[in-house]
């Protein structure tokens, strides 16, 4: 059981006092601007869209996980009545290109082979082999059956550790299955272990899981009257228009990608899914085409989370100080590279966790196999090491007779400390606070209710980055304008996965321009008509498009207040806007956007000014003077003053890390948090009941607290599924969990109400001091669960998911 931390009254100082927050809309709970359309069934998702005359597409997928592709005979399918096109690799203008992820900076080894349709060798079961477009879906399905493919099954390799060996079966056309490796070297690891009084060494395994968004991959595409191929698809990256154009061999500005509201993404729609197939079929048929994956197809053939084997050896002094950590992580990249190198780099930097460890040695590898390819999934490589390092800490604590909180408090990094990869954490680091608060809220455990019941509590802290890796030189753009009637328009390429990405921009623009949120309309996700905001990945949108929107809105605000100042004959820095009225507000400093030479900018939004004499400031004006915003707008428009701004926000750009030592900045900032859990374990059956789940994160500043809570609650359950019941089970590359009946995600009966505690340090680099929360929220649950179960039954499960069978095995019952 966890000890109360009464003896630790002296609490670390909050890193940044933060300016007193007097926001009009920011930080206030608001219904999302898309909520009403969604709840009344009005929202048109990608698969709901219909275009007259559209054809229906189906994908033929490989029968084997590893095979030579000998021949494909499509004649019978082509002859079928109602079939308009059949395509294989030879029909694709550029079937092999590289995967790109919306960045403009070329990043060499981080790009992998993007093969549209299978060619030469099959690399995973479910690989797309051919495409059909037909007048009805039924005809397309029947046509797929008529395509004859000749395979020569090959041996294949299905274990990344095996795949690393010198004579292993080669998945691709390279000389090795090892895609890349990274390392961290800090200090002297041998010396470190000699200093340790206690050493814990374990191997942890985590399984393959699916994103299981409720909306399977879908899209509709057509050629518009100017010959631009337009794809309306459920995607996290409209910037894929470049990659699609490369495949089709057309100019970039002849491909347009629009994304409507997504029915969930979680990283699974970060890679291209349906878009290229649609574009090719539109190009070849000249007709509109629709494609929706079935759920089985989605589980079979879209990217998955990397399974990892992680070997950790951690040493601590008898006082609990971590002195040495050696870790080797091997990830299963599946059949194609996709984002594996990137995920691996995240795991490498995250491997030690948010702790100060004197000597660190980390080696990581990502390896091709003939399993389903793995790529981005919420957390992007931070989750797997967290399971290992948080389990290790609890084992150390047990051996040292310390509480889990005690040992962590001895080692947590704070602002100004450096990660093992050399990066100094210059922004808010409130991990310790989150742990204390989460445990406080958890309280004392209940007593067992049955003889076979054991109650346990567990915690896990995490670090998880937000913002893309800094060597990608990330940028984001947004357009803000005020209309003549005082309403506000935002145009931004932001892709909204359901996390409120677009709604946040409305709230930010509303704050900047002093209007209610309902006055803001956001047009989003159109590569032709909205400034590109960058991918909705890496928990970067609030940080990037939020800042870009803020920058644009702040510019329009400045223009409006300058005009208002002239109208009133006073200094505009003493004016503010709220509820559509411009008014005199001398007590707070004005908003400022400061941009430096490298186009990195900082935005500040007021703070107490200090003593001023109101009458001096107001001039001839009554201090209660207000002007309707619309009046200012009309006057400004008449003067030809710009009431619009398209702004680009540049994240700090850095160089690639040093691959020899693993030293470098890599990430702009991190979010830190803790999840605490209470479970009841039935030792007769191994069943686990999750009784309580508390999530505490430093979110910097909430834009919309309802959204932030929603991410924390949803993330906790998404992570809990990973820990408790989800697994894509493959047998020699063949999926044994083809549908949601076998692939189990938590239902409403499997989880408790999640309690959320938000710390708002103001110390983030997002707008208004916000930190990202989407991914961090889901990282701690699996180790928290493992720790809670261990607390309950006295013995540990080292691999996920923690099923009843594994618990019984741990208890040596079976």
């Amino acid at each position: 059981m966890l000890e109360k931390h009464k003896s630790f009254e002296k609490v670390q100082k909050v890193s940044k006092p933060g300016e007193e927050k007097k926001y009009h809309v920011i930080g206030k709970p608001r219904p999302r601007h898309d909520a009403w359309a969604k709840v009344s069934g009005q929202t048109v998702y990608a698969g709901d869209h219909k275009v007259p005359g559209m054809l229906y597409a189906k994908v033929l997928r490989s029968e084997y996980a590893a095979a030579k592709l000998l021949s494909i005979d499509t004649r019978a399918a082509e002859k079928m009545k109602g079939v308009v096109a059949v395509m294989t690799a030879k029909d694709v203008p550029h079937n092999e290109t590289v995967t790109r992820f919306g960045q403009t900076h070329s990043v060499g080894g981080f790009e992998g082979l993007y093969r549209v349709l299978a060619d030469k060798k099959i690399r995973f079961k479910g690989e797309a082999v051919a495409l059909v477009a037909a007048k009805t879906l039924a005809i397309a399905k029947a046509a797929i059956q008529k395509i004859k493919v000749a395979y020569e099954p090959l041996e294949g390799v299905f274990d990344p550790v095996e795949a690393m060996k010198p004579n292993a079966y080669l998945v691709g056309e390279d000389e090795s299955n090892v895609i890349c490796s990274y390392k961290i070297r800090k200090g002297d690891i041998e010396k470190g272990f000699t200093q340790a009084d206690v050493i814990i060494e374990n191997t942890y395994r985590v399984q393959m899981v699916d994103h299981a968004y409720m909306e399977p991959e879908a899209g509709v595409a057509w050629k518009d009257d100017e010959g631009v191929i337009t794809i309306r698809a459920s995607t996290q990256v409209i910037e894929h228009f470049r990659g699609i154009a490369a495949v089709l061999g057309v100019p970039h500005n002849k491909i347009r990608v629009i994304t409507p509201m997504l029915g969930g993404g979680f990283g699974g729609k970060e890679d291209i899914t349906v878009e290229t197939y649609l574009a090719l079929l539109v190009q070849i048929t000249g007709k509109p085409v629709s494609l929706t994956f079935t759920r089985e197809e989605s589980i079979l053939a879209h990217s998955k989370r990397h399974p990892y084997v992680m070997h950790y050896k951690t040493g601590a002094t008898k006082d609990g100080k971590l002195v040495a950590m050696e870790a080797e992580l091997i990830s299963d990249a599946g059949g194609y590279v996709y984002l594996s190198p990137w995920v691996l780099l995240y795991s490498t930097v995250n491997a030690p966790g948010p702790y100060d460890i004197t000597h660190v040695k980390v080696d990581t590898h990502t390896v091709l196999t003939n399993n389903t390819y793995t790529s981005a999934n919420r957390g992007f490589g931070a989750n797997q090491p967290c399971f290992a390092y948080e389990s290790q800490l609890d084992e150390l604590a047990k051996k040292l007779n310390m509480s889990p909180l005690e040992i962590r408090r001895k080692n947590y990094l704070h602002t100004g400390d450096a990660l093992a990869s050399g990066r100094v954490l210059e922004h808010a680091v409130e991990t310790e606070q989150t742990a204390i608060k989460a445990l406080e809220a958890l309280g004392e455990p209940i007593k067992p209710r049955q003889p076979s019941e054991r109650i346990g509590q567990g915690m896990a802290s995490c670090m998880s980055s937000y913002g893309r890796m800094t060597f990608l030189h990330d940028t984001s753009r947004s357009f803000v304008s005020v209309e003549l009637d005082g309403t506000v328009t935002v145009r931004c390429g932001v892709q909204d996965l359901g996390g409120g990405q677009a709604s946040s921009l409305a709230q930010i623009a509303a704050e900047a321009l002093g209007v209610p949120m309902e006055d803001v309309t956001v047009f989003h996700g159109d590569s032709a008509l909205t400034p590109l905001a960058g991918t909705t990945t890496a928990t970067r949108q609030l940080y990037m498009s939020g800042n870009a929107t803020l920058k644009a809105a702040a510019t329009v605000r400045r223009n409006l207040l300058e005009k208002a100042g002239r109208m009133l004959g006073m200094d505009p820095s003493y004016l503010d806007i709220k509820d559509r009225q411009v008014f005199i507000q001398p007590e707070r400093k004005p908003w400022m956007v400061v941009e430096n030479d490298s186009r990195e900018c900082t935005i500040s939004y007021g703070g107490d000014r200090g003593d001023i004499i109101i009458s001096e400031v107001c001039g001839n004006n009554d201090p209660d003077t207000t002007i309707p915003l619309t009046e200012v707008i009309k006057a400004a428009a008449a003067d030809g003053i710009e009431l619009l701004c398209v702004a680009q926000f540049n994240a700090p750009a850095r160089e690639l890390l040093d691959f020899k030592t693993g030293q470098g900045q890599v990430f702009p900032d991190f979010t830190f948090g803790t999840i605490a859990m209470e479970v009841a374990v039935d030792i007769d059956t191994g069943d686990v009941d999750v009784l309580k789940m508390i999530s505490c994160f430093d979110v910097g500043q909430t834009i919309n607290p309802l959204s932030v809570e929603g991410q924390m609650e949803g993330g906790a359950v998404y992570g809990l599924g990973y820990g408790l019941c989800e697994e894509v089970i493959l047998d020699k590359g063949i999926t044994l969990t083809p549908s949601l009946a076998e692939y189990l995600i938590p239902t409403s009966k499997d989880v408790p109400q999640v309690e959320t505690i938000m710390i708002q340090s103001g110390g983030g680099i997002g707008p208004f001091g916000a930190k990202g929360i989407g991914e961090p929220a889901n990282v701690p649950p699996p180790p928290a669960l493992a720790n809670a179960v261990c607390d309950a039954i006295g013995t540990r499960v080292y691999d996920l998911p923690i099923t009843p069978e594994k618990i019984l095995k741990a208890l040596k019952a079976i």
């Binding site: 039924a138 076979s452 007769d684 059956t685 191994g686 069943d687 019941c725 089970i729 044994l736 969990t737 009946a741 076998e742 189990l744 938590p746 239902t747 409403s748 009966k749 499997d750 099923t803 009843p804 069978e805 019984l808 019952a813 079976i814």
Partner: protein, 284 residues
Amino acid sequence: MENTEYLKPNDIKELLLIMTENKDRATVIAGGTNLVPEMRDGVKTPQVLVDVGDLQELVGIQLEKDSITIGAATTIAEIAKSSVIHEHFPILSKAAGELGNPLTRNRATIGGNLANASPCADTAPPLLALEAEIHITNAEGQVRTVPADKFFMDYKWTHLDKGDVLIRIVIPKPPVAAKGSHTKLGLRKAAAICVASVALMLEKDGDAVKRARIAFGSVAPKPIRAYRLEHYIEGKSVDKKLLSDCEPLLQEEISPIGDIRGSESYRRFATAAIFNRNLLQAWA
């Protein structure tokens, strides 16, 4: 699939006529919760679908003097919510309430659950323990009564022949003193395919078991009665020693497989655990 025919009889007479005319081609459908996904996947390709879901003669729960009759097309939801079933056969009530989820329960029928012949059929173990009788009509209208434990023949094989329709289940009311107990294990708390289940009915006579009926689901090619186990405990008192003596017998009765949901050893252990728990519960 485009050529599949759909017929919906208005009464039993019409049903029998349709079955006679289409004996080899007819597939009976009620709730469709198993059949519709199988049709979509191409696992089943019915030529003629005969819809009995709305047939009044096949729907409903009738309380008789010594038994209760459940129409085959009665939904699982109706059974789970029925106070009559809850009062007389709480183990059936419980099992019905744990089948699938509230949405599938509104369509799934008890007849369909049995006819689908899965070894995991949720209503099967309680019906076996309650010694229910399955009434089947052939296409000619001849009705035969098949005890539940003869209904399940082997893996995915029941007493139903081509042209047959399962029309009702008759469950004798157990003696007032009889107690039942049921547990279903799954890998999550709702909509979980059964990993192992036990249903039992126990009658005491003083300090000994007078009569025991024990059934298991998901641990054999079909839902089973554990006759040897029943025979062994009859006449004895239920205590720790008895449970321990039962263990090897139980393991002989069941033959679970290992699959994605669990290994054989896990199923064996878990089945014994819930059997012990349920037996003690019914004994108390």
